[in-house]
């Protein structure tokens, strides 16, 4: 074998982020010391980002199956059945570290990567969502990061022409040194047209398509697998640069070629680029792949095999074609002005063999790199549960109206218009529910059915009680889908945590997974795809545990879609669910009382399910004029959001025996919805609730141009709108 043996020093091993035991395992697999190229390959394949070595053990606890699941975790994205021969392909992924170092490109390439994960499976992307967590609004870097991340997401998605329809944005000091950018993409595909990344057929050509390879992003996956320090800015060269125009061409070219029978397997070159795409496709198919790296199109001179295998240049795909289909593929990619080069072929050797100008420069067996990949059951410590706070122990420093003003203009509740108006959320002509509602709804093109989409997580709940927080994240996503009238189908998750080597962080991770698993099972809401992002900490300061849940649901008939906005006065407001007045961990406690403490609200999954199913059946029966789930800020905030969306006010009636109006108005008890019902339909709604054993009581009436409480304490909608719309533009200094 003509593999040059490099001198592999302990320093080199450490620089590649490999532990000594991991290096020994590499030597055992190869039966010899690796050369530098092979060391680089192992280092990215066994990075936390690619191997899930600290999380795999726990991820097995998440339910991943159900009659609706066509493809669960392990492929480029998850696939669920939509009926009528259609399927949805979707996934969420983090791009946290790159976005902190270079917000515009970091966020843009996050969008690019998740789009490719979806269209590599044959689906046309139809929607994007983004879950963003920034540092304190007053932190000196926050404005710069918000500005760059939002422009980066918009710049990429707008150009590719996929609408960015939803997501969430919150602010807290725990993210000062480590923002979170989680991008979710959803695509549509005919059931029998799904493509998988499973190489097969020895002799079949392996073809490189898309943009040329440069030196950008080398070791990006390794960077995503280490903690940050103040010196992080110096890592800017490891952030990739995105080109959405090339992505658009790649999308159209791939979908065009997929309409023929030319493609056997296809995978995008994401993290760890050519390495992960070749090894993962070979591993799934149980075959080998050999490649001549000197054939890879490059945009810089003098690139080495090491750089070619580890580059994370964007907008590239690796294809396995049927023999004889190369000409057809070349014609399609030439039409779209893209590279299409045969760089190798499938073999039955079970190894990836790399050549450089005819000389073999690496030979790595495929199966062991996955089978023998490190798996760590890291020590984890449970934190003592946060102590519940009794509602009567919470002072009411402000009158309810003042507290509402404060909350609606607070960082986590203020309008996100400044953000979503920078995203083209209407392109493709199917956005039937725009940003600002409980869930975005995108019509399934050419039909009267729709996909409901949401991302949710309440990190402050997860920090106070990981199990409950994990449960709540799933429950809130489920609730948001029910609130527009959709049947929730499945989940994609993006688990953002600090260092897994810290037992407390690992305890948070394990707790969140347990809570999520329980909720997913109870709600028949399996996890079909996702991503784990560890090491979200800077100088030892970890972020809050943030398991973002991306939920997807199906609306069988768009005529029965619910929205926040009511269109008439005189409608009855009906509160579904029981209100205990849970103020622990609430936004009221934080924004009005300046206290960040207490246990988060309990989540009763059986109740959650009963309430969600009732609300959905009411939507389907056409009995609702408007519907909104209750979450951050509780009932009064939800009512204000509905009134602002409507442009019509409402009067809210406090219950007769109300110990703490504050707790009733602002408590964050789970499993609740606020409905607007026409008087003629009120009896039917109440009867349905009673049949389902669900508490639903009338709490007010719509009408007027203000919010009133028991007929008094009027706050004009005009004033509320100014407060609600004003905060983010004021922070950013631009309208």
């Amino acid at each position: 074998m003509a593999i040059a043996a490099d001198e592999i020093t302990p320093e080199l091993i450490a620089e590649h982020g490999l532990a000594d035991a991991e290096y020994e395992r590499i030597v055992a697999i190869l039966g010899r010391a690796p050369n530098l190229l092979e060391l680089g390959i192992f280092s990215v394949m066994w990075s936390e980002h690619c191997s899930y070595k600290s999380s795999r053990h726990w991820l097995r606890r998440l339910p991943t199956e159900g009659p609706q699941v066509i493809c669960g975790p392990g492929e480029n994205a998850g696939v669920v059945d939509l009926g009528d021969g259609m399927a949805a392909v979707f996934k969420i992924e983090s791009h946290n570290h790159p976005s902190f170092i270079e917000p515009h490109q970091g966020a843009a390439t996050g969008v690019g990567g998740i789009l490719r994960d979806v269209f590599t499976m044959g689906a046309r992307p139809v929607a994007l969502l983004d879950s963003l967590r920034f540092g304190a609004p007053g932190h000196p870097k926050t404005r710069y990061l918000v500005d760059g991340v939002v422009a980066g997401i918009g710049g990429y998605g707008n150009c590719v022409g996929v609408p960015t329809v939803g997501g969430e944005t919150t602010f807290h000091g725990v993210y000062n040194g480590n923002v979170l950018v989680n991008a979710m993409c959803v695509g549509l595909v005919a059931r029998e047209q799904i493509f998988y990344a499973r190489a097969s057929g020895p002799g079949n050509p392996v073809v490189y398509v898309g943009a040329k390879t440069g030196r950008d992003g080398i070791h990006g996956a390794t960077m995503a697998s280490a903690e940050f320090s103040e010196a992080a800015e110096a890592r800017r060269p490891t952030v990739q640069a995105g080109d959405p125009f090339t992505e658009k061409l790649l999308l159209e070219a791939c979908l065009e070629l997929m309409r023929t029978d030319a493609i056997v397997a296809i995978q995008d070159m994401g993290a760890a680029g050519l390495t992960s795409s070749s090894f993962e496709m070979a591993a799934r198919g149980g075959v080998g792949i050999e490649m001549d790296l000197d054939r890879v199109p490059t945009r810089e001179t003098g690139m080495t095999p090491y750089e070619l295998m580890l580059s994370e240049s964007q907008e590239r795909m690796l294809l396995v074609l049927r023999q004889g289909a190369e000409g057809r593929a070349r014609a399609v990619f030439a039409k779209w002005d893209l590279e299409c080069v045969a760089v190798g072929r499938v073999t039955d050797s079970g190894a990836v063999v790399l050549r450089w100008h005819g000389e073999e420069v690496a030979r790595v067996p495929v199966a062991p790199i996955g089978r023998e990949a490190p798996l760590y059951e890291r020590p984890h410590e449970r934190r003592p549960a946060a102590v519940p706070i009794a509602a009567l122990d919470v002072a009411a420093p402000l009158a309810p109206g003042e507290a509402l003003r404060r909350l609606l203009g607070s960082p986590d509740l203020a309008s996100r218009r400044w953000i979503f108006e920078q995203y083209d959320h209407m392109v493709m002509g199917d956005t039937v529910q725009r940003p600002g509602g409980d869930a975005a709804v995108v019509r399934i093109h050419g039909s009267n059915r729709g996909l409901a989409l949401t991302t949710d997580c309440t990190p402050r709940y997860c920090a106070a009680d990981p199990v409950r927080g994990g449960m709540q994240a799933v429950a809130e996503a489920w609730r948001n889908l029910c609130a527009v009238g959709a049947r929730p189908l499945a989940v994609t998750d993006c688990l953002n945590f600090g260092s897994p080597e810290n037992p407390q962080v690992m305890g948070e991770f394990v707790g969140c997974i347990e809570g999520m698993a329980e909720a997913c099972r109870a709600l028949d809401f399996p996890v079909v795809s996702g991503n784990v992002s560890f090491y979200n900490e800077t100088d030892g300061q970890a972020i809050w545990p943030t398991p973002t849940v991306g939920g997807l649901g199906l609306l069988a008939d768009l005529d029965h879609m619910a929205t926040l906005a009511w269109r008439h006065g005189g409608l009855a407001l009906v509160l579904v669910g029981e209100t205990f007045g849970w103020l622990g961990c609430s936004l009221y406690l934080r924004e009005v009382c300046g206290r960040e403490e207490g246990a988060p609200p309990p989540v009763d999954l059986a109740t959650e399910r009963r309430h969600g199913e009732l609300v959905r059946s009411l939507c389907e029966a056409g009995l609702l004029e408007a519907c909104h789930d209750l979450s951050d800020g509780g009932l009064y905030v939800a009512l204000a959001e509905m009134a602002l969306a409507s442009g019509i006010g409402a009067d809210l009636r406090l219950p007769e025996a109300c110990d703490s109006p504050t707790a009733w108005l602002f408590g964050e008890d789970q499993g609740r919805y606020l409905l607007a019902v026409a008087p003629a339909r009120l009896a039917a709604v109440e009867a349905a609730a009673s049949r389902a054993g669900v508490l639903a009581r009338r709490v007010g009436t719509t009408g007027g141009a203000a919010l009133t409480l028991d007929g008094g304490d009027a706050i004009s909608l005009r004033e509320l709108a100014a407060i609600h719309e004003g905060w983010l533009p004021a922070l950013m200094g631009t309208p």
Binding site: C159, F245, G429, T431, T734, P735
Partner: protein, 219 residues
């Protein structure tokens, strides 16, 4: 009506325009930018998007596409040509319409429905509206700030060639201009997206009137 929608590399509202036209009863053909000959057409649409990634200048590279010479010839022969958003930028680049687009005054991409005034009803595109009628169409652009010289602007006004005006200027355009007609009145460029307001499910039908009017005036 036979309508052709041109797809350039980076066009992304081509399908939306085709759907809106077909819903009004037009026979729609998709045309690839590399074509040099066109079938018989009553209407040519240059759709929105990011042709060539907006590199160099919005629409500058697409204006040099092989198909554009034939589009210009058809326009001179009186065929109706509609440029929406990036299509408007291409028409300005090739000189079928006066003026040019620069970055929005706020320097940000803006996607939202805006209120417009129909400034003229004297064209095959706008005859279905009343002069002065208020309509609402979505915009979605980063470079929609229309600029032209004072003399040019006066000429557009004198010749009644301003098709649409923003009520509340979202991008800093000269004289609040949102759409202009060519001298022959058969070429219209507009930044707002009528195809995004052609389906009641999407929140408005003010744009549908434009397509229906084309069908009525062009057969």
């Amino acid at each position: 009506m036979r309508a052709g929608v041109i797809t350039f590399p980076g066009s992304n509202c081509d399908r939306d325009a085709a759907v809106a036209l077909a819903a009004c009863g037009a026979a729609v053909t998709s045309i690839w930018h590399a074509e040099t000959e066109l079938p018989r057409l009553d209407l040519i649409v240059l759709p929105g998007g990011f042709t060539y990634g907006d590199y160099l200048r919005c629409g500058a590279i697409a204006a040099r596409a092989p198909v554009m010479a034939e589009v210009a010839r058809r326009a001179e022969a009186g065929v109706a040509v509609l440029g929406i958003c990036n299509g408007f930028q291409i028409l300005a680049e090739i000189g079928l319409l006066p003026g040019a687009m620069i970055s929005n005054a706020g320097l940000k991409f803006v996607c939202r429905p805006v209120d417009l005034e129909v400034a003229t009803d004297a064209s095959p595109f706008t005859a279905g509206y009343a002069r002065g009628q208020a309509i609402r169409l979505p915009i979605a652009h980063h470079d929609g700030n229309y600029v032209c010289s004072e003399a040019e602007c006066r000429r557009l006004e004198d010749e009644d060639r301003v098709a649409f005006r923003y009520m509340d200027n979202p991008n800093g355009s000269t004289a609040r201009i949102a759409g202009v007609l060519g001298a022959g009145r058969n070429v219209l460029g507009m930044m707002p997206h009528p195809e995004r307001a052609a389906d009641p499910r999407l929140g408005g039908t003010d744009g549908r009137i434009l397509f229906q009017t084309l069908l009525e005036t062009l057969g």
